[in-house]
Symmetry: C2
Subunit: 334 residues, 2 copies
């Protein structure tokens, strides 16, 4: 992703909410990354503690963030998502240092941000930035979660292009503004980013079964798996009870064909990762997972699961174990 951004001559401000790990953060430093994106003030504090000093908090500002921001601004240049002109004045009163303002664009389906055609609010926000000697307008940000519902790379890319059109119109109205673009499917599938100046994808660091289904990546690109102990085979139901439930994987699911899957079994060896066709988690309770096991399949002591949504799965663990057995610490609990 770093190379792609470089080749496309766009900035790369990766979202760190997926891995939430200082060690993995350093891998990005090695790629030249100096500015990062997070999803809460708490997560910003975690990464600031390791010297990250240019942080975008990609969540709508609310006054409860202020105590954390007062602490953060001592060491960190902040970029904040503002949707209310009065909040710019409030931040001026509460903070001591300059801050940058991003106007998040709602692409029209009611997520956070300002509707991309609500020029009245956009103008008020730009005005408030201009009048405030501490705030500088940084650009427009868009994250369209609808690409996550795409069922093919073509439909995800088509959707991304619709978003690029919205952004092109904004750029033509506000040529000085940076255009910042968020989601992993778009960042993975596009090769021409049009007017986009900066990308902030996060999930791509691990990818997951959902991204494989969308077509953002192949199974070989996935870098996060859960190893679940096999607890009890129920051959008469073609099921294996595994020790792995909602507290290990999260409860995100995805429809694959006519089945709802909470995770896909794979096998892994030196030649790569292979799909174990028909072996998927059909339900999860707190600690139990039910893995479908078609008749005649071999069952081993543990099952490797490609999780549906790596961001939520990673959030449930205090560390990662690499394939060579090294433990990588991460932040626990958001």
């Amino acid at each position: 992703m770093a190379s792609k951004a470089k080749n496309c001559n766009i900035s790369f401000t990766p979202h760190f909410k997926t891995h939430q790990s200082l060690t993995i953060g350093n891998w990005f430093r090695d790629e030249g990354v100096r500015a990062i994106t997070v999803s809460s003030a708490g997560m910003a504090s975690y990464f600031a503690s390791d010297g990250w000093d240019d942080i975008t908090i990609a969540f709508p500002f609310f006054p409860g963030m202020i105590p954390a921001l007062i602490h953060l601004e001592k060491t960190t240049r902040l970029r904040l998502f503002l949707h209310n002109p009065q909040d710019i004045e409030l931040l001026k009163q509460q903070l001591k240092n300059p801050f940058r303002v991003i106007i998040e664009m709602d692409p029209g389906y009611g997520r956070s941000g300002t509707h991309f055609r609500d020029f009245q609010t956009i103008e008020k926000l730009l005005d408030a930035c201009e009048k405030c000697n501490m705030a500088s307008f940084s650009g427009f940000y868009i994250h369209d979660g609808r690409t996550y519902q795409a069922k093919s790379p073509a439909s995800a890319a088509d959707h991304a292009k619709t978003v690029l059109n919205i952004l092109a119109a904004l750029k033509s109205d506000y040529p000085q503004a940076s255009i910042i673009f968020g989601d992993t499917p778009s960042a993975s599938l596009l090769n021409d980013f049009g007017v986009v100046d900066e990308i902030t994808p996060g999930n791509f660091v691990f990818y997951d079964w959902m991204q494989v289904q969308i077509g953002s990546c192949s199974l070989d690109d996935v870098a996060l798996f859960c190893l679940l102990p096999s607890a009890q085979l129920r051959p008469e139901y073609e099921k294996l009870i595994v020790h792995g439930g909602a507290v290990h994987l999260s409860k995100d699911s995805i429809q694959v064909g006519d089945r709802i899957s909470y995770g896909q079994a794979v096998s892994m060896d030196s030649s790569g990762i292979s799909l174990l066709d028909g072996m998927y988690l059909s339900s999860l309770s707190q600690e139990h997972g039910i893995l479908m096991v078609p008749k005649g399949r071999e069952v081993t002591d543990s099952v490797t699961i490609c999780p549906v949504h790596s961001c939520l799965t990673a959030n449930l663990h205090d560390s990662y174990i690499t394939t060579t057995g090294k433990r990588i610490e991460k932040r626990i609990l958001s």
Copy 2:
């Protein structure tokens, strides 16, 4: 629940997987509880560290548990769920102290355990216990998760009665066996437990929006809520973006009428807890929640949410705050 068990002259071995807190565990000690239920060897170790010395691990035994059991048996009398006669021999080789065996009954829908009509396996397990000088058969356990899908107290109670009939038949075949019964809806709704000797509910310690919907409890019985900051009102969509997502609430949902709810807004004051009708979480991403806010409703700085599934919500936090501001520590990450 402790009083109910006492009044019905049945044992009470509460499941501690919902609260996962040593402090809350002590509240049970105050009620005379000496034996508890947990859902993993790791959770058993957590409670054993606080002196709990009679612990049932309500999860199908698998060999990967053995290292933890070797450590646990030094201080703790263990009751284990066995479904495979060979595992009884394996445990005899690996452990030094007597252990008790529970045969978990699958009530016929393919969950963990042994099918309640699979007398061949039941007999083999009883035989293996008899032949093993370290294993003693403790009883039959049944947890029927289907009561969680009930839409009314009457249908949950009807379902519970079907399960009681299965247990009555078992008791007549094995009159010496203890009959152990698991789920919160059944334990909450039944007043006559028939042949049941022991109950092990867990969720009732907090209850949640799902239990209110089933009718296991009233809203006033719920004891776990999430206070979420209001981040951005989107009146044109009748939505409020709150800082509260899948990493704070989990992603369990419930159908209420024709809506899928990820949590219900309530108001709370000295007179009690009131439903904020029509204000519910309609979707969750990692950190964002979308709360539906019908036109004309007042929006405050934060919203109190009754979670859909308190077990999974509690699992995502490192402590509880009481209504008087006291922090209660808990176990983090399963």
